[in-house]
Amino acid sequence: MSLILLIEQVLNGIQFGVMLFLMAAGLTLIFGVMGLINLAHGSLYMVGAFAAAAVAGWTGSFALALIAALAAAAAAGALVELLVIRRLYDRDHLDQVLATFALILIFSEGTRYIFGSFPLFLDIPAALSGPVLLPGGILYPLYRLVIIAVGLLVAAGLFVLIAKTRIGIQIRAGEADREMIAALGVDISKLYTLVFALGAALAGLAGALVGAIQSVQVGMGEPVLILAFVVIVIGGIGSIKGALIGALLVGLTDTLGGALLPTLFATFMEPSSANTIGSAVASMAIYILMAGVLLFKPSGLFGAT
């Protein structure tokens, strides 16, 4: 494998990781603040993508589509929080898993009811399409660079939000002690709705960004959801920093594993079976990574013990 190809694959891994981070950040924030496992986070991702596809279809504007995705996902998130989620905070994880599993069913089939069974069209704007030439002669799709940039901006924004702003202080206080924050006179239920909507908006943004280069279809959220869970578990639940590192680790492992393992296996096996077995191991790689991390750090890389 040439160096250029390797660099390109590393970029791909980072891009995939950054995309996962957008999903994982919301998930880990919601878990950290409210102690809630939200399986329906993938549905909010789907809502974002469908909203973006619908608005792009009507208006032809990608910017409007992004705004619509953020708004729709945040609204859906807030609505779900008000109607369902807030009844689950003092329940055990089991009830949360079942209730949010039920939400997946409702969201998926509801979306199918509204938009039909066929995938929707959503394309990247002309200004962002096509490749750019990077130093070293690497040709790389501009849009993927944009995703990396957006993801890193969001990460930076989240760090600032949590470290510097009033809301951030409340969020951190909420993580430490719910009664404490209530005693401080903060309206905790409002804070929770806000955090949930923020997490949902991030998922919606991810859905719209990714929807433009993937298929906008019912059920698109679940595979990403599982990966996002892998990410936050590796990073340590509740930690934004952990989510970022975990996302990059998962992104790189998945991309490089898929690209390198078959070649690696071919060094000591016949090519055809090396290909199948290499691909098989590559598809298991991130789960192996996760199990490995948890063996040595049972609360993830940056989790509170």
Binding site: H93, L98, I226, F229, V230, T276, M284, P298
Partner: protein
């Protein structure tokens, strides 16, 4: 106080009665549905040992369900094609004997549970949920990518396996087998909960520190519970494969784990007959709602949501009134 046992008896009797009536009315498909409910209930009873008794929220029980299924698939497919599974160092042949297949399924699932348990039980809470999910996904992708036994296509077994003295292809006879296994496992699980092991395990769920202080290691209790739980779910997997005469990686998918968990929660966590009620209700819903609309998942979702939000203690808990102490 006596209401829950009464509900249990009625619920349990409903299975053979329904199957019997269906036989008289010549509605074999109803019998097949009841068989499916009994087998899925069995999977739930398995999970309930870890989940209800031990408080171990495993989101990866599809792993054991799938292993049980593939134990059947692999053994029967080799028997079907008259090719040995391996020749060196010792000759191992496939088999069409249900009893042998059950044995292999239980042992294989127990071994997998031992391995997964040793690694997973070091973690707690959400981490435990997620690491069990991860192991399930590993097996799922493995099963899809491994070409030897059909990969994603799965394996078809053309004729149901043999049980001494019975015609297993006759729906009512196969129902009788599945129902008897369920009854036997329910009896054993009931004894287990009341035995010294059950007392200590359930105490470890309520308060691990307490159990440590009396000199018992929660880890060992949980590991053993996880193994028993996995083995029972594995047995259910073998039966399920035989019901469909087919196995595929779907049995390993995280949705399968979720569904088994739904049976348990729907019926009532930690209640012996909870999974039986849950599986029966789920099958009923699938059958009735599925006929009503292409979008029946919406109704299923709404119903599940209502159960979680407003019917705590599941179906049995709701019917039996206030929660009773486990004694």
């Amino acid at each position: 106080m006596a209401r829950e046992p009464l509900i249990n008896i009625i619920l349990f009797a409903l299975f053979p009665v329904t199957a019997g009536v269906a036989m008289v009315l010549d509605e074999p498909f109803i019998i097949t549905l009841m068989t499916k409910a009994a087998i899925l209930a069995l999977a739930g009873v398995g999970l309930n040992i870890a989940l209800g008794l031990g408080g171990l929220v495993s989101f990866g029980h599809a792993a054991f369900f799938g292993i049980g299924g593939y134990a059947m698939g692999v053994l029967a497919s080799h028997a079907q094609s008259y090719t040995p599974i391996m020749e060196t160092p010792i000759l191992i042949e496939g088999t069409k004997s249900m009893l042998v297949i059950w044995g292999v399924a239980v042992v294989a699932a127990a071994l997998a549970a031992l391995l997964i348990g040793v690694l997973s039980l070091r973690t707690t809470g959400v981490y435990f949920i997620m690491i069990t999910l991860a192991f399930g996904q590993m097996l799922y992708y493995f099963a899809i990518s491994w070409p030897a036994y059909g990969g994603e296509d799965g394996l078809s077994i053309y004729i149901r396996n043999d049980f001494p003295g019975l015609n297993t292809l006759d729906p009512i006879q196969f129902f009788a087998i599945a129902f008897t296994v369920l009854a036997a496992v329910l009896f054993i699980a009931g004894r287990l909960a009341k035995a010294p092991f059950g007392l200590a395990l359930s105490a470890a769920r309520q308060n691990p520190e307490r159990v440590e202080t009396v000199g018992v290691a929660p880890f060992r209790l949980r590991l053993v519970a996880f193994i028993i739980s996995g083995a029972v779910t594995g047995l259910a997997g073998a039966l399920f494969a035989d019901l469909n005469r087919f196995v595929s990686p779907t049995m390993f998918s995280w949705q399968t784990s979720g569904e088994i968990m739904i049976f348990v929660i729907l019926g009532g966590v930690g209640r012996l007959f909870g999974p039986v009620a849950g599986a029966a209700l789920f099958i009923l819903l699938e059958h009735v709602l599925g006929g009503l609309s292409d979008f029946w998942h919406v109704y299923l979702g709404l119903l599940l949501l209502l159960v979680v939000l407003f019917a705590r203690g599941g179906l049995i808990g709701t019917l039996a009134g206030k929660e009773t102490a486990h004694d």
